[in-house]
């Protein structure tokens, strides 16, 4: 086992843009003074999540949905291993991480769309409540995800937060991805910037 490149640039950049966008959107949720900041940061989450969908089909090996979307049986097996303090090591996302991705992408898109509709006064009260309920659900999934990341990091002796920054994880040389896909990352940045600009205007 050695350090190999596993996460491409769009995965890492998208992950941290979503983190930043969600934190800012959550902190500005109750403010009219920061309403525009709230809309733009929520828009960043929505833009990253919509970019991630095609990237789940055309991205590098471990970014693809086929690599990590698993059924409830695999999730239960992984959780059981985690509880016995000996979780199975996955080069890419483990089944729990895969579920977190699907849930957070779905919630990021739905929360963003509901928020956009509220911002443009398309909905009534129920849409406001829906937006808040979806965001609170998203926070709940994020907390579970963080607990999973912390316990996975401790049990594997592998700092998963750092792997999401550097892209390097433990694996065999032949399991590495050949390119970090920087051009796609530039496209992601352009897409996010365009979405932010569009919302702000």
């Amino acid at each position: 086992m050695q350090k190999i490149l596993v996460w491409d640039w769009p995965v890492r950049l998208g992950h941290w843009l979503m983190v930043g966008g969600f934190i800012i959107a959550w902190l500005t949720a109750e403010s009219e003074t920061f309403r525009l900041v709230h809309a733009v940061s929520g828009g960043i989450v929505l833009a990253v999540a919509t970019f991630r969908l095609p990237w789940g089909f055309i991205g590098s090996r471990y970014a693809r949905f086929v690599d990590f979307v698993r059924g409830p049986t695999a999730l239960k097996a992984y959780a059981a291993g985690l509880l016995k303090l000996e979780p199975a090591h996955h080069v890419g996302h483990n089944p729990a991480g895969g579920w977190a991705i699907i849930l957070l992408l779905g919630l990021g898109i739905l929360t963003g769309l509901a928020g956009w509709a509220n911002y443009n006064d398309l909905g009534r009260n129920w849409l406001e409540e829906l937006h808040e309920g979806l965001a609170a659900t998203m926070l709940t999934v994020i907390i579970i995800h963080l607990i999973g990341v912390a316990s996975g990091s401790l049990l594997h002796g592998e700092n998963l937060v750092r792997t999401m920054i550097t892209g390097f994880k433990s694996g065999l040389p032949e399991q590495a991805i050949p390119s970090a896909r920087p051009i796609a990352a530039a496209l992601l940045l352009i897409w996010v910037a365009a979405a932010s600009w569009w919302i702000a205007n």
Binding site: S31, E32, T33, R35, L36, Y119, R124, N125, W126
Partner: protein, 134 residues
């Protein structure tokens, strides 16, 4: 059939038009009367609160910053420029028909504009003004 009726009642209770502005005003007035004997809501005091300028937030120093000088007209958000539906009940029948929503927005906006929570007396006066202004 009884299950259906129960379901309908349940759905109606979710459909946010649960109260009237009079009930909401009264609920705040009762709360205020508990602290201050003989309290009755005053639309005049409500209007004064609506127009008062506070020194808490220079981007939105008063209610009128977004809701304009006339509550029967649509407002405009001070930061985003987005339209805000009129506050006055005579211009917007949806206003003050849901106590939870009213509480939520008094909670947010009083804190942000005045810098503190509004008192039940202030809320009662405010709802009185918005119910009567034409």
């Amino acid at each position: 059939m009884r299950a259906l009726t129960a379901l309908c009642l349940l759905l109606t209770s979710f459909a946010s038009q649960a109260e009237t502005p009079q009930q909401i005003r009264q609920s705040y007035a009762s709360e205020a009367a508990a602290q201050q004997a003989g309290f009755t809501a005053s639309a005049q005091r409500g209007e004064a609160l609506f127009r008062q300028r506070f020194s808490n937030n220079d981007k939105m120093p008063s209610c009128t910053s977004c809701h304009t000088d006339s509550p029967v007209k649509p407002g405009q958000h001070a930061i985003t420029g987005k339209a805000v539906r009129p506050l006055a009940v005579s211009a917007n029948a949806e206003r003050f028909t849901d106590l939870a929503k009213t509480e939520k927005w008094f909670g947010r906006n009083c804190k942000e504009v005045i810098g503190r929570a509004c008192t039940p007396a202030e809320k009662s006066d405010f709802v009185a003004y918005m119910s009567e202004v034409r």
